[in-house]
């Protein structure tokens, strides 16, 4: 990417004027909704009751969520954590593997990259419903499980519901890693490889000492991007299990919904939202650092 010289500016207002509509719309919307959200998190309020009936309770909602023994907030944090680990790890590894595979001369690579776009763009909520069917006892997944392992699994049970949801995420987002890492691999300069080969490096050494270090910023960027998205996942889990059975698939976003609309405790639900947003904003800082490094090195 070329660095461009700044244009001579006749008018100091113009740049701001051009940004103004975007700035106005986006920041106003964000400011209002954030303001409301924080306000709602500081009251005890039933969804449906008029605002006048809301009782200010300061940080009580937060304290209840974090410290009360009946709070299942930490449960949902743990569930989210398992979800994140269960998806990011495999997606990255499989994604990298497949990217390396496709980087070597494979026939039909362009068709493959086209096909891999599909899981990423399909409507998550509807696809979630379809996967719910696939995971039913007499569904597609059990068909294959039965063919290979002569048994059928109870995916709707509390042990396998979360793995089921994780598998769907892996299906949906591994292509994300594949496509990005493949592009990254293809853009790597040849010289370091040739130099290393001349020095007698083996395939594995090439990978470990040349490929991986050069790909590191991109891998990190992709992972962080995905990380932030994973924390927000709602559609698929909602469509598949709605947080159940029990609280097996209640990730943080699902917890927000259940608390706000089903238990109708909008104060607490808002408190969860506030905490979630804080975490994501903090992570965005990290992403920003990564961004700069990647941009310069591509």
């Amino acid at each position: 990417m070329t660095r461009l010289p700044a244009l001579r500016q006749r008018n100091n207002v113009v740049p701001y004027a051009l940004i103004l509509p975007a700035f106005f719309v986006v920041f106003t919307l964000a400011a209002f909704s954030a303001f409301w959200l924080v306000r709602m998190s500081l009251v005890r309020w039933t969804f449906g009751a008029p605002w006048e009936e809301a009782v200010p309770v300061g940080l009580e909602n937060f304290k209840w969520l974090l410290f009360n023994e009946h709070s299942t907030f930490w449960n949902s944090v743990r569930t989210t954590g398992i979800y994140v680990a269960g998806t990011l790890g495999p997606e990255l590894l499989i994604g990298l593997g497949l990217a390396l595979l496709l980087n070597s001369k494979i026939i039909g690579r362009s068709i493959y990259t086209a096909i891999l776009v599909i899981p990423i763009v399909v409507m998550p909520s509807m696809v979630g419903m379809v996967w719910r069917l696939y995971f039913s006892y007499d569904g597609l997944i059990n068909y294959f499980v039965e063919t290979f392992f002569s048994t059928k699994l109870n995916w709707y049970g509390s042990e396998l519901a979360l793995p089921a949801v994780i598998l769907v995420d892996i299906w949906e987002w591994t292509p994300f890693f594949v496509l990005i890492l493949l592009a990254g691999l293809q853009a790597l300069p040849r010289e370091p490889f040739e130099a290393a080969r001349v020095d007698g490096a083996s395939g594995w050494q090439l990978f470990r000492f040349v490929t991986l270090p050069m790909m590191a910023p991109l891998i990190l960027t992709a992972t962080i991007l995905r990380f932030m998205d994973v924390l927000r996942i709602f559609d698929v889990v909602f469509a598949m299990f709605g947080g159940g059975p029990g609280t097996a698939t209640t990730t943080i976003p699902i917890y927000v919904w259940r608390t706000t609309m089903v238990a109708r405790n909008i104060g607490r639900g808002s408190a969860v939202s506030v905490m979630l947003i804080i975490v994501i904003v903090a992570l965005t800082f990290l992403l920003v650092r990564m961004f700069e490094r990647v941009k310069y090195e591509m």
């Binding site: 461009l4 920041f27 497949l98 776009v117 419903m129 069917l133 994300f176 990005i180 904003v281």
Partner: protein, 279 residues
């Protein structure tokens, strides 16, 4: 080279190709099964073991057209997605130009400010937005949904488009301006056409994002402005799960998006990484 080596090499190549094929098919299969199942007859859709060969029929599509009013939802989805995309571009392009061409105080903080806002989860603020809609009497309107989507779409568009504008040499614009064009005209005649592909790609990706969006669509709409994703509740009936209609609906809900995405996949990588990585 010994022929044994050559055979081993070729075998290795074949093996790799086979693995790649299987891996990619594994990703394609769930979707392909869904689409083909939409053309099955009712009993075939939930048969176990699954039916692999069958005579295609449009029964399921006919049923969702008649019973589920699917055209209404598709119409709403289309209107909202198109309006969102259009409005987003209208607002984002000037801002992008500003970021790409000018230097001014607070430039990067503002740019990153946009990025931060984009990261807000929909489900977190949807209930805030609900109360705002209620107060402004805008619940269940196209207008409100479209405005809300701007919160995510505009930053995304700015970040995606910025790279495209920066890639066009400023000299071209300056040349046009020397010839007597205003900066605005220079932009319209020179830069915008050259952005062409990137512009179309960003538009399509924003369209897809709005088309697929669930949380806001579900909680901020009722009978008037409901979009396709909200249809997921229709298939769990007292008489069992309607597999067939669900496959058909999911096919209609995803096929346009898949087609569009494939048309612009050149820019896909860039889109996924907010312009950090060029595809």
């Amino acid at each position: 080279m010994l022929s044994r080596d050559r055979i081993r090499k070729r075998f290795g190549k074949v093996l790799l190709n086979v693995i790649a094929l299987i891996a990619v098919l594994a990703f394609l299969f769930p979707y392909a099964f869904m689409v083909t199942s939409a053309f099955k007859s009712r009993l075939e859709t939930f048969a176990y073991p699954p039916v692999w060969f069958f005579k295609p029929t449009l029964d399921m599509f006919r049923s969702i057209l008649a019973d589920m009013n699917i055209m209404f939802y598709m119409k709403n989805s289309t209107i909202i997605a198109v309006a969102s995309t259009f409005l987003t571009m209208l607002i984002a392009i000037p801002a992008t130009y500003s970021f790409a061409r000018f230097r001014f105080p607070f430039k990067e903080p503002i740019a990153y400010g946009f990025l931060f806002l984009q990261m807000i989860p929909g489900i977190s603020i949807v209930f805030s937005l609900f109360y705002i809609a209620k107060t402004l009497d805008l619940y269940d309107t196209y207008f409100f949904l479209v405005i809300c989507y701007l919160l995510w779409n505009v930053p995304y568009a700015i970040w995606m488009l910025r790279g495209f504008v920066e890639a066009i040499p400023v000299e071209l614009e300056e040349a046009a301006m020397v010839d007597g064009c205003s900066r605005f005209r220079a932009f319209m005649i020179v830069t915008l056409p050259l952005m062409g592909g990137g512009l179309i790609a960003s538009s399509i990706l924003i369209f897809i994002g709005v088309w697929n969006e669930f949380a806001l669509a579900f909680f901020l709409t009722s009978t008037h402005a409901r979009t396709m994703p909200t249809m997921i509740g229709f298939f769990l009936t007292h008489a069992g799960i309607k597999w067939g209609p669900m496959f058909a609906t999911a096919t209609l809900g995803t096929l346009p998006v898949v087609v569009f995405a494939l048309l612009v996949r050149k820019y896909f990588i860039s889109a996924l990484t907010f312009g950090a990585v060029k595809g």
